[in-house]
């Protein structure tokens, strides 16, 4: 749950609510251009790092300098390190040149962005020093196609964040952009550029937001990926997204465009309290509905987790134990995530994962499924926070200050009692290496006229060797992972890969729960000891013990999250401690919500509901 003010807590529950509002930021960027770009600069300070300015993230730690009135004595600025000392906080691009009394540079500093391919941009968004509020107020932007100038224009920013929505270039494409900074506000300043977005950030407000819906579901056992989908409909008054508008944004709208959204609520004092919704990314389901006078553009954005669908193949068996923490770190490093907007890590891993070890390896699956498997083995929940951080952590059952009372819901909660579980049937897996060195993959009768790269999959194996016949040769040094290798070959002949297959022996474990009910069969390939299997089974059993599931529509509370533990009224009026598993917030000028939660049974040390018992407890009849 997001922290909100006490006044908000009072006002949001008033009988007649005040006005709600929303704002949505949609970045229209060419993500391929980002991948193809390299940045260089002229006349930069020693703690400048232009190579990062094409990645949007905030620089919250500013080095102080002696420019006139810049060294504000609020204690937030950091004293710069000596030249040659480690730089703890890179600052984006900071010019060594300072502007004069007239705000102008004698020798204008500049940055150059080279692309390894040709692109056309809907515009550029510059973000200067957001903390001290200084910016460049005159710049010239050039674009080049193979060193031939195709765009040249002066721009006059008037704020820290500046958006130019020129098509760059107007016609054709470019593969180099040069930005020359000519003046600053205030005077006597260096250029402090935090980052550039290779595109636009469009902000939608209540003037053009038609409706939105934010759906979330979290699987408390991490047996499936979370749902985190934000659908929003925009009134396209200026037909900017019309596919027939040659100057429009239609061609740029596609996958992986960052979307951030906030909910606003007017408090009694007239001020609006804003609550960050989420940081998500568009998928490929953009559509435009033109049947009405004002077309409606429909977007859908999903969490970063949903988009991590590349296969994780860097699994290696070596017989050694590795912690789930290290395994998760390897997978997340492979995912190559960018830092969050505030500069923090794109992921958080519960330290408890450092205490669970296994020699078993992951199968070659999508990154998000690999993370789900690790979370499940670690008895953790996998979800994405509002600021876009992937988190694997144990469920926090601290009761939060929120009551979904009968006054806050639109109808009495419907109750579903989940089936009784008789037993949890799981298993643990021992992995050993076969003593036989055998053929595990081969590619026969190759006739290659040029270097050709193959990705060869095989069953889990280790200790590899290969044989090549004819003129077939390996180019470079391929690395053999336990389930695949990417290898470049040339020539003609047969390629055969040998290795020792991994033998995975499964041993069944059963945890009795109730004398009647159904047998829940569940397992995880990373669990390799009886102790861990039993702990896993108890964790599953404890969750399945929460056998009452409640569902209702409510007044809409954008501060609520899935996995929040709150008080929930039932049809009997009694307030139970419950965990939110599903929450949906809709907005069409007013807020509304739909919630699903399950009752939180106390642990062994807590009170018991009559007739219930704890797993393994002896009962005296």
């Amino acid at each position: 749950m997001v922290n909100v003010s006490n006044q908000y807590k009072i006002d949001i529950n008033k009988l007649h609510r005040n006005m709600s509002s929303m704002r949505i930021n949609l970045s229209i960027v060419d993500s391929d251009a980002l991948d193809a770009s390299t940045v260089s600069d002229s006349n930069a300070m020693y703690y400048s790092d232009s190579s990062t300015i094409n990645i949007p993230h905030a620089h919250t730690n500013k080095y102080m300098t002696m420019e006139h009135n810049r060294f504000i004595l609020d204690g937030n600025g950091i004293l710069p390190p000596e030249v040659g000392s480690p730089i703890d906080y890179y600052q984006g691009y900071v010019s060594s040149e300072m502007s004069g009394e007239n705000m102008r540079f004698t020798t204008p500093p500049s940055i150059t962005i080279n692309f390894s391919n040709y692109f056309k941009f809907t515009g550029l968004t510059f973000t200067f020093d957001r903390i001290l509020g200084t910016y460049c107020n005159k710049m010239r932007i050039y674009a080049y196609y193979d060193d031939v100038e195709v765009y040249n224009k002066l721009h006059y920013p008037t704020a820290v964040q500046f958006v130019t929505d020129d098509n760059i270039p107007a016609t054709g494409f470019c593969n180099k952009i040069v930005v020359e900074f000519l003046a600053t506000y205030p005077a006597r300043r260096r250029i402090n550029l935090e980052y550039i977005v290779l595109g636009l950030v469009k902000t939608f407000t209540d003037d053009n937001i038609s409706s939105t819906k934010w759906d979330r579901h979290t699987d408390l056992l991490s047996t499936s990926l979370e749902t985190n989908v934000f659908s929003f409909n925009i009134l396209d008054v200026n037909k900017e997204f019309n596919p027939e508008n040659t100057s429009g944004y239609w061609r740029y709208v596609g996958q992986r465009q960052p979307v951030t959204f906030d909910y606003g609520y007017e408090l009694s004092d007239g001020k609006t309290e804003w609550i960050r919704g989420g940081t998500l990314y568009t998928d490929d389901t953009v559509s435009i509905d033109t049947k009405d006078t004002i077309p409606v553009v429909k977007f859908k954005a999903v969490s970063i987790l949903s988009q991590l669908t590349a296969k994780y193949y860097k699994n290696e068996y070596n017989g050694q134990l590795h912690s789930l923490y290290d395994l998760a770190t390897d997978v997340l490093t492979f995912a190559n995530l960018s830092p969050l907007e505030d500069g923090s890590s794109p992921y958080y891993l519960d330290p408890v994962l450092q205490t669970i070890y296994t020699p078993n390896i992951l199968s070659e699956v999508e990154i998000n499924k690999a993370l789900q498997t690790i979370a499940n083995a670690g008895l953790c929940v996998l979800k994405v926070s509002r600021n876009g951080q992937i988190r694997i952590e144990r469920l926090d059952t601290t009761l939060l200050d929120f009551n979904m009372s009968l006054d806050n819901i639109k109808s009495t909660p419907s109750v579903v009692q989940l089936p009784i579980v008789k037993s949890i049937k799981t298993k643990y897996k021992n992995t050993t290496m076969s003593s036989t060195d055998e053929e595990i993959a081969s590619v026969k009768n190759l006739v290659l006229t040029e270097d050709t790269t193959f990705k060869i999959n095989y069953t889990k194996s280790t200790e590899f060797s290969m044989s090549l016949t004819g003129t077939l040769a390996v180019v470079g040094s391929p690395y053999f992972y336990s389930t695949s290798v990417t290898i470049t070959l040339s020539g003609s002949g047969d390629f055969t890969l040998y290795g020792h297959k991994l033998i995975e022996n499964s041993i069944d474990v059963e945890l009795p729960v109730n004398p009647v009910g159904y047998d829940c069969v569940v397992s995880n390939e990373l669990i390799n000891t009886e102790h861990d299997a039993l702990e896993y089974a108890k964790w599953i059993a404890n969750d399945l013990f929460n056998r009452n599931s409640y569902k209702t529509d409510d007044r809409g509370y954008p501060e609520l999250d899935t996995t929040d533990v709150i008080r929930g009224d039932t049809s009997y009026g009694n307030a139970l401690s419950v965990i939110v598993t599903d929450y949906s917030v809709s907005y069409n000028g007013a807020l509304s919500g739909s919630i699903k939660y399950i009752s939180l049974l106390p642990t062994i040390d807590g009170f018991k509901i009559c007739g219930m018992f704890n797993v393994g407890q002896d009962i005296v009849l």
């Binding site: 002696m66 009135n69 504000i72 004595l73 609020d74 000596e82 506000y185 005077a187 006597r188």
Partner: protein
């Protein structure tokens, strides 16, 4: 070398005002400008020379150049050196310091007030001492003198 009155009464309001008005021509109290840094450097040097003129040894003082706007206030060679010199000079003369100075990673208005207050107190006590010293053969009004 002459003494300049230190600024020791910066407030949070000064800082907030400076944050919103960086474009003003005058040096704002809530910001640390070269005028502030150079005043501290000059006052420290003034006190050092004054102490030495009265035979107080000032050990471990390192000369520091004036700072210009294009300079970088490096943490060790500029700011900590400045603070170190203030400590060295105030310790050369036995006083109770207003606030113990330390070597921070950042500066806020309170820390700069403390630096300048240390200098101000040292100056006051030293000049009071000097003005109260009697030369041989002189007397104070109303004093009984045995000729």
């Amino acid at each position: 070398m002459s003494w300049s009155n230190p600024i020791t009464d910066r407030t949070l309001d000064d800082v907030l005002y400076a944050l919103e008005n960086q474009n003003l021509v005058e040096d704002l109290k809530g910001a640390f400008n070269i005028s502030d840094a150079n005043r501290i450097i000059d006052n420290t040097l003034y006190l050092k020379e004054l102490l030495e003129s009265y035979e107080f040894p000032v050990l471990d003082y390192e000369p520091q150049e004036h700072i210009v706007e294009t300079d970088i206030p490096y943490i060790s060679s500029v700011i900590w050196l400045m603070i170190q010199n203030v400590i060295v000079v105030t310790n050369a003369y036995y006083i109770t310091t207003h606030q113990t100075l330390s070597y921070p990673n950042n500066l806020n208005y309170q820390k700069v007030n403390d630096i300048e207050e240390n200098l101000r107190l040292t100056y006051k006590l030293l000049t009071d001492m000097i003005s109260n010293a009697k030369k041989c053969g002189t007397f104070i009004s109303g004093q009984t003198v045995i000729l």
